[in-house]
Symmetry: C2
Subunit: 214 residues, 2 copies
DNA sequence: GTCACACTGTGAATTCTTTCACATACTATA
DNA sequence: TATAGTATGTGAAAGAATTCACAGTGTGAC
């Protein structure tokens, strides 16, 4: 089980998605430089990243798309699939449920939670919505290890604490506040405000920077 | 106009948001280590980041919240505000429009586009929805420099090309495909599948990794 | 007015990431 | 079977980002 950095792992996830598309198109082999072009990186980086999953390429033929998907899967996926929970079934929460609905068989949203009684007990995008009071019970019962937080900013910290108490070890946080949790919990923030501000800044200056620094 | 890396800039955006909250609470001064704790970083990093905006701290008093917000604003914001466009008014697009509606005065969504005729000409979260055929005209008329892409994956590349042709220089891409655009266009990808897979992976191994590597 | 303290600003060191470059290996061809 | 050509896998170099550590400085106490 080799160590990989976050960036490494993110790219492996990306490669797998690109490879799945290639496979659907009937392509059976691929070179590192082709995959690099699709992913927007360099060939050396692709090969480096693939070292983590145990490289499988052959000269003159490149990598087998099928084998690569399989190896990345062994590396990335939980052995028997995994269920995630989502807390906060507002606009964003529902959109994310729709986004993930029926997409990845090995990692799907299995439970939703909201404090609004009008949402509770409804089935949204194929997923039952429970009251937030049931988080601990349902998370334990379903063995949920990972949760998505789409509650308003002021509720995010308390939500995170409840989830961690229930045994969740990974959080995908869409609320625009950094969460304070223990070191055994992994948090990934998706901060759309920050992202949009970055884009606006580099749209003004960034294009040039890249030219200049080269 | 000092150079800042993407990560630098992202953190400046985050600091500003934290500072705004502090200001609302009536706090007037703050130390680098306090800001670091809130942002989840180190004091040295906060100070380093603030060098970009011209440091303004004083020993014994730290930084003035008001001055810092102002300096970051001068550094980050377009001088006269900026309007963004969004293409793709599905579940995710609408959620994002709601998310940004009336939040940042200096950077707001001013036009939405969709190919579905039933959405066109409606006003959604305070923003007019135009047909995609009007992208070039509206983008030029409004002087839009930045766009958010929330169309299905297979339409993303063509959408990006249309936007760039119309003069957009920055893209925030929610579609799960890397966009291929010229070097003068800045692209930020928000890849929720990758993010969730990362969380699931590190929820299983990551907590331990951090312990072990320390 | 002077002293002691705690924090800032920043060169230097460290750590992490990416790229280079080449020895090795495989395939196709003749 | 030998040869030529091209891609892989990976040590080593280069480049970024982060952290260290300390000189400099403003403040409050006395």
């Amino acid at each position: 089980m080799p160590y990989v950095s976050e960036k490494n792992l993110g790219r492996l996830s990306l490669y797998r998605r690109l490879l799945n598309r290639l496979q659907a198109e009937g392509i059976r082999n691929i070179y590192s430089h082709e995959l690099a072009r699709m992913a927007g990186g360099t060939a050396a980086q692709v090969r480096r990243d693939l070292m983590a999953v145990g490289s499988l390429g052959s000269p003159k033929r490149g990598y087998s798309v099928r084998e690569l998907i399989e190896s990345i899967g062994i590396f990335l996926d939980a052995p028997h699939g995994e269920g995630a929970a989502i807390v906060g079934v507002g606009n964003l929460g529902r959109a994310i449920m729709a986004y993930f609905a029926g997409r990845r068989p090995r990692l799907s949203i299995v439970a939703a939670f909201d404090s609004d009684p009008s949402k509770v007990n409804r089935v949204i995008h194929g997923c039952r919505c429970y009251p937030v009071e049931d988080i601990e019970r349902v998370v334990r019962e379903e063995g949920v290890n990972v949760a998505i937080i789409t509650v308003p900013a002021r509720e995010a910290q308390a939500t995170a604490e409840t989830l961690v108490r229930a045994g969740v070890r990974g959080l995908l946080n869409f609320a625009p506040v950094p969460l304070r949790v223990g070191p055994d919990v992994y948090v990934e923030d998706i901060d759309m405000t920050m992202a949009l501000e970055k884009v606006a800044y580099f749209a003004r200056r960034g294009g040039a920077v890249e030219e200049i620094t080269k």
